[in-house]
Symmetry: C2
């Protein structure tokens, strides 16, 4: 696994703190995370961190935003002529975590002209799944986290819905409730992330079955294809 968007050198202090948070989360887990440890990882003083963030929660909410920040942008540039393939790839992007080489190269092969050379695909996909699950679990008790994750789910859903609506407009897909189907793809993605981070789980089989769902649910001849 790569470091995703944390592979490049940080360009300012805020970014340095975000990179340090990623490393500290990976090393200590959510339970062992502290401003002190993040400061140590960043080579900064604790007070420097508090200059930018009110505390651990505030910092983590910014961290989530940083991780997902470019996701929408990353999505928009990557459309092929095949909406089934677009959906499958975007589900993969959602669940992949810091992009592993296999998925990155598959996506690069699938939509070669669409990825600008200065935006390596893994830069836009920083879902380190373990920390993501631990941080998201804070949403059980913390309304600010719930709000943020509601927004993020909505962002994923809107992206999927856009692809589905395009498929309907082009006559490739059936006339389904695009939002409901898109939301199911978010649920499948989140279920994949949740299970993958907390149990032994065959992610490739899940992606394959997500593709079957897309075909059977959206293609007019979905049932006949097999």
């Amino acid at each position: 696994m790569s470091d995703g968007p944390f592979a490049a050198e940080p360009t300012d202090t805020r970014e340095k703190i975000m990179h340090a948070t990623f490393r500290a989360l990976r090393e200590y887990g959510y339970a062992g995370l502290s401003i002190q440890r993040i400061a140590d990882e960043a080579g900064l003083s604790k007070s420097s961190c508090y200059h930018f963030y009110d505390g651990k929660d505030d910092l983590l909410l910014s961290f989530m935003e940083f991780m997902f920040g470019q996701f929408g942008t990353g999505f928009d540039i990557r459309f092929s002529d095949d909406p089934v393939e677009d959906l499958r790839l975007h589900v993969q992007l959602m669940v992949a975590g810091p992009m592993d080489e296999d998925i990155a190269s598959e996506i690069l092969e699938a939509v070669p002209g669409e990825v600008p050379p200065d935006a390596p695909i893994r830069e836009n996909n920083a879902l380190e799944r373990g920390p993501l699950v631990e941080v998201r679990a804070q949403g059980v008790n913390e309304p600010a986290f719930r709000e943020r994750f509601t927004e993020m789910d909505g962002m994923f859903r809107d992206t999927f819905a856009g692809i589905i609506e395009r498929g309907i407009d082009e006559g490739v897909f059936r006339e389904v409730d695009a939002i409901q189907v898109a939301d199911m793809l978010v649920t499948i993605g989140m279920g994949t992330i949740f299970r993958g981070a907390t149990a032994t789980f065959d992610r490739d089989a899940a992606i394959a079955e997500a593709e079957s769902y897309i075909q059977h649910r959206l293609l007019p001849d979905g049932a006949i294809q097999e």
Copy 2:
């Protein structure tokens, strides 16, 4: 929401500790959970708790087992003549948390003769979703938790796969990879639990779309039904 399997009076000290754990989790969340608080809730001394459990992790693993313990049994008794309906109801059972009245009554209506009077349906379905997500998130760093949740996912998957295989044998379902489809239903269920506990989320729409998945993926005329 009801207290699920924690509604009845505990019958021994172990069960008393399990009930107290449920209340303490709900009150303090995972982060605030301690043997002391569980002992206080149970009206026991800390040392009584340590007599049964090595510590918080050991106790929580037992708690998970207690919550899921009767799930398989609950499942086996509730089959109708319609495998689509069986799958939908079992997905609902998986995600429902301590059964709310609506779902309980729907299930009771759907398969009236199948529920023995001495086993009220909510007794078998104790997935309080917030604590479940918080405890499951421990699987990110704790192998013992990962193992337990891998087993639990397998239990759900096998139950779903059994229904699918029966549907195939009876000629109602297409010849699909039953395990792969069953595993997707677990992923959908876990995604529903994860999202529902950590964000604003329309669970009813998710259940409706899960049913669409089941119909389109498994029925030979799934694509033609709409």
